[in-house]
Each structure stands twice: as structure tokens, then as C-alpha cells.
């Protein structure tokens, strides 16, 4: 009957997690180092040998939308693997290489780094809820100053590669709700520097809402 209807039941169906060879595209926005940026994502599930849990990898691109400018962009190669699963409890995470570019009137900065993330919580076919922790660190940043900075602030500013210029920690909640082929998600929490200091002038928080479509 199930075969006749063409419905495939996958015992591993879980909210927010792709099965092997499943793909998804998504869109998100919120407060994510910008107010209402646009984030586009693509992910694909993979099998890794005999490893019993799925692995996914993909790409996400985020741009601030106010005064839209592709010189301000974040590109991240996303990875996620489940490390532990006991019934509905699971721990999963990944390490994402990330590139962040920013162009301002005083300088342009291009940073390369890694984003470490971990989720612990409960996941079933419809819901995934739990706590996420994310730590990103920018190993190298290329900074090039403009005349506006050198003329009006510091003419001796040194352009070039700088090491370990930034680190950020996020601790918050992730909720994912699956409806057919759609995963609706919300992630929110505190966002601070690597030394757990508040941000300058802007909220030390993040809140991202989005939807992924599986195919």
C-alpha cells in the first residue's frame, strides 16, 4: 500500500537534518551581525562510509540588505554531523570555514576563519529543539585603509594581513519545525566577543528566522 502510494518512509526522518543525498535550499533573516540581512543557503546530505548518522555540507551566503553592497558579504561552507544519538536526544555539530568581507569609508577588511558549532537537544520527525553554541574565530584579516582614515586619523596605519583579529561566541536556542518538505527554524540568543564582552553600540544578541526547502 505504501509502495503503491509512492510514499517512502525513511526511519531516519528528522526535523532539520538532511538524509543522504537529500538537498535543501533556504532563506533566512533576522539579527545576524546586521539588522535584517539576507541569508541564502544550500545543503546536501551525504553518507560517510559505514557511519550510521548523516553528514551534510553546503554553502551559505549572507549580505546586509540596507544599502545593499556585495562588498559586505559572508560566505560560509557549512558542515554538520551527528555525533551522538540516543532515541531523540542528539549532539551534532560542525566546523565551517568562513570568509567575511566589509568595505567602509575608512577601510576594507577581508577575514578568513572557522566557525565551530555544536547543538544538543531533542530531535524527532517534526521538531528539533535544543541549545546551540557557536564560536567563530578569524585567523587572518587583510586590512586596507583609505585616505579618509590616513588623512584624518592615523597616516601611519599599516595595511596588510593581521592575525587573530576577531572571535565571537553565540549561545542560544534553536527550534526547527518540519512541515512536509519545509523546515521552519528560529535560532536566538546572546552574541558576544570571544572574551565575552558586549558589542559596541549594537545589541549583543542574535535572532535568525528562516525556512529551508528539501528536495
Amino acid at each position: 500500500m505504501i509502495v503503491a502510494l509512492g510514499i517512502q518512509v525513511n526511519a531516519q526522518d528528522r526535523s532539520g537534518i538532511l538524509d543522504a543525498k537529500e538537498q535543501s535550499v533556504g532563506i533566512a533573516t533576522g539579527v545576524d551581525y546586521s539588522i535584517m540581512p539576507l541569508q541564502l543557503t544550500y545543503k546536501r546530505g551525504f553518507d560517510i562510509g559505514n557511519y550510521k548518522f548523516p553528514f551534510s555540507a553546503g554553502l551559505d551566503v549572507t549580505v546586509p540588505v540596507f544599502n545593499f553592497d556585495l562588498n559586505d558579504i559572508r560566505v560560509r561552507i557549512t558542515t554538520e554531523m551527528t555525533f551522538l544519538r540516543k532515541r531523540n536526544f542528539e549532539i551534532r555539530g560542525g566546523i565551517d570555514p568562513v570568509f567575511v568581507n566589509l568595505k567602509m569609508e575608512t577601510e576594507t577588511m577581508s577575514s578568513l576563519g572557522l566557525d565551530f558549532h555544536l547543538f544538543t537537544g531533542f530531535t524527532n520527525a517534526r521538531w528539533s529543539t535544543g541549545m546551540e553554541v557557536r564560536y567563530n574565530t578569524m585567523f587572518s584579516t587583510y586590512i586596507q585603509h583609505t585616505d579618509k582614515y590616513t588623512d584624518n586619523v592615523y597616516e601611519g596605519a599599516v595595511d596588510g594581513w593581521y592575525k587573530n583579529t576577531a572571535a565571537n561566541i553565540r549561545i542560544g536556542a534553536l527550534v526547527n519545525y518540519r512541515v512536509n518538505k519545509f523546515d521552519l527554524f528560529l535560532r536566538a540568543g546572546i552574541s558576544k566577543t570571544g572574551k565575552f564582552d558586549d558589542y559596541l553600540f549594537v545589541p549583543s544578541m542574535y535572532g535568525i528566522i528562516g525556512v529551508n526547502f528539501r528536495f
Binding site: 559586505d72 569609508e105 578569524m138 593581521y162
Partner: protein, 366 residues
């Protein structure tokens, strides 16, 4: 099996399992981490002075400085030390330094201030190239212990004692520097020969608490705010160099308020922003933790009977000539001169007009 032997066997099995897992699954991870370690060992140190921001006087002892009141301040003198002393007090706190006064040392119509006066310019503690203090957590609560009105006053008292212990001084103050000048006049009216205030801020909390506009506007949907937010991914404001650098990025990329009407083409320069001093504002003896001002520099102003000169632009939407009437009400004798077509950066945009007005004023009162 005997315990020691079984332990060895289990250890070997675990070790082999770990090696097997690492060999199969972690090659990519190890490669990524290795590359990361290589990358992190390359590149300049952003915390090193003189890379992104200039060094402060405690980081570079060759910068002209003075030791006073337990701190080290960036200070320069100009002219003949036998002439009457004129001390320049910059705005802020924190967001200005004496670089903004640079043009006022130039010659205008055959006259420069150093012809008649011994000019002293210094960066207040926590600002410009002077020593830094505190951290942002304290600053957000206006509670950095070293950055208080009492310390700002004591620093100025020390400078006066050093350069003009026996003769009266002249004070020139811009914005917060004008408030700071009046703070000194309120404490030592007998030591002051003349006061020139260029768009000073409020003389007391009663006036200041009525102001509804703040020094920094944070339009959450504006490009400047979003750039500053985005920038936290590139630069973490975790220490003095990076905090000052990030802070300056915010202001020089449009975070400052429009109602002060700073020039967008002839930009008011700084040596270096003092972010913590700026956020700390007037400090724990000038305001409460919730940001309500409590300071009062007017308790003794009636003792200062020498005329005080106010200089104001006509574009500033906050510190207007009408606003200055509230300050002037505390002084027995004052006069206001308006310079047209200029905002709060009037000391930089109209230095010649300032020098002319200062000369006329001091020729009259001295």
C-alpha cells in the same frame, strides 16, 4: 585476566580504535586545523601599537608627555614660556583630542596666538594619545574608576601648577572642553584671567538632563550601524587598540549625529578616539548608573566677574545660541559671538575667526 594485564589490553584496544577513527574520519579535520595553525602564525599583530592606531604615551615614551596626578598625558607647548599661559581643552570626553585645535596655531592676518601667549594643548586622560583606563563593562555603567570629573580636574590643576603656578591662566574650551573649563573656573575663579568657550556643553545637570539628543545616533537600519555590527566579525573590540579602532570606524563611517552638522568634506581629525572615555561620559561623580546627570559646575560661578566669551556656530541644532543662554545665566558677565555657516566642528572649519575673536576678547579683558 589479571588487572594490570587487562588494563594494558583495554588501553591498547582503545588506542588502536582512536587511531583507526582518526585515520578514517579526521584526515580532513587535521588538515583544516593544520592550515589554520599555519595561517594564525602569519600576519601582523593587531594589538601592537602603531599598526592600526597610534601608540599612546605609555606605549611610546618618545611622544611628548607630562606626568601629572598619577597619569601620563600627551601634551605639547607652543611659543614662548615667558608669555601668559593659554590652555586648550578639547571636546569629548574621549571622542576628541587636541589635534582638532591644530589650525588655531596658524597665522591669520599677520597674527598668531603664539605671538602673545604660551599655548598648552594636551589630550585628557583616556583620550587622544594619553594613557587609557578601564574596560567597556565599567564604561557602560559610567563607572571607570580613573575617569572621573575629579580626576579630569586634578589633571588640569596639575598642569596649571606646572606651567603657571604664580600667574593667572587663560582657558579655551570646545564642547565638553568648555564644560571642563567652567569646572576649573568654578573651583578656582581666582586663577583665571580669561575664558573662551566654543560651543560648550551644559554647565550643570539641570541643563544637560533636558537635552534629548545624544552624541551618537544609532539608526538601527542605517548603513553606519550595520557596518559597525558587521565589523564585529572582522575585529573584536576586546582591548584598547581594537576598541578605539572599532569606535573610530563607527564614527568616521557615519555613526555621528547629523544635528551637529560636521563638515563631510573637511573632516575634523583626531589622533585617536578614546572609546572607553567616551562611553564612560562624565563618570561616576557626574552621573548615575542609569545615565542621569548629577554634575554641577555652577556653584561658585558668581565669583568669576571677568567677562566670558562664548563662540557659537549657527548650524548646530543642539548647542544653539539660545541653549547657551541657559549657561550664560550663571555668569555675571558674558558675551556671545556667532560664526555663520558652521557646525560643531567650528574650531577646525573656522579657526581664523576664532583667533580673531580670541585676540579681541583678550585685548579687552587682560
Amino acid at each position: 585476566m589479571d588487572f594490570p594485564y587487562s588494563a594494558i589490553v583495554h588501553f591498547c584496544r582503545l588506542k588502536n580504535l582512536i587511531i583507526k577513527i582518526m585515520t578514517k574520519k579526521s584526515k580532513l579535520l587535521m588538515m583544516v586545523l593544520s592550515i589554520s595553525l599555519i595561517i594564525t602564525s602569519c600576519g601582523k599583530d593587531p594589538l601592537e601599537p602603531n599598526n592600526l592606531v597610534p601608540a599612546t604615551v605609555d606605549q611610546d615614551l618618545s611622544i611628548p608627555a607630562i606626568e601629572v596626578n598619577g597619569t601620563r598625558l600627551h601634551l605639547e607647548t607652543f611659543g614662548d614660556s615667558t608669555k601668559p599661559v593659554m590652555i586648550f581643552l578639547h571636546g569629548g570626553p574621549g571622542t576628541g583630542d587636541y589635534r582638532a585645535f591644530g589650525r588655531m596655531l596658524d597665522e591669520y592676518d599677520g597674527y598668531k596666538l603664539t605671538d602673545e601667549y604660551y599655548i598648552i594643548m594636551y589630550d585628557q586622560r583616556g583620550a587622544g594619545l594619553s594613557r587609557r583606563y578601564g574596560d567597556m563593562n565599567d564604561a557602560y555603567h559610567y563607572a571607570v574608576p580613573e575617569l572621573t570629573l575629579a580626576n579630569y580636574l586634578a589633571d588640569l590643576e596639575g598642569i596649571v601648577e606646572r606651567y603657571s603656578p604664580d600667574k593667572k591662566i587663560i582657558l579655551f574650551g570646545h564642547s565638553w572642553g568648555g564644560m571642563h573649563a567652567i569646572q576649573y573656573v568654578n573651583e578656582h575663579p581666582e586663577k583665571v584671567a580669561g575664558v573662551i568657550l566654543s560651543e560648550p556643553g551644559s554647565f550643570n545637570a539641570k541643563i544637560e538632563n533636558q537635552l534629548t539628543l545624544s552624541i551618537a545616533s544609532t539608526d538601527l537600519f542605517g548603513e553606519a550601524t550595520n557596518d559597525l555590527y558587521w565589523n564585529h566579525q572582522n575585529i573584536s573590540p576586546d582591548d584598547y587598540q581594537m576598541i578605539d579602532y572599532s569606535y573610530m570606524n563607527g564614527f568616521y563611517n557615519g555613526l555621528g549625529p547629523d544635528y551637529y552638522h560636521f563638515s563631510k568634506t573637511d573632516i575634523l581629525p583626531v589622533f585617536r578616539f578614546g572609546a572607553i572615555a567616551s562611553v564612560n561620559d562624565l563618570g561616576s561623580d557626574g552621573m548615575t548608573e542609569d545615565g542621569t546627570y548629577t554634575f554641577d559646575f555652577t556653584t561658585n560661578l558668581d565669583k568669576f566677574t571677568t567677562k566670558v566669551l562664548f563662540i557659537n556656530g549657527d548650524l548646530n541644532e543642539v548647542l544653539t545660541p539660545e541653549y547657551q543662554e541657559q549657561n550664560r545665566a550663571y555668569l555675571p558677565n558674558s558675551e556671545i559671538k556667532i560664526i555663520k555657516g558652521v557646525g560643531h566642528d567650528l574650531i577646525w572649519i573656522k579657526p581664523g575667526e576664532h583667533v580673531k575673536l580670541i585676540k579681541e576678547y583678550l585685548d579687552e579683558v587682560l
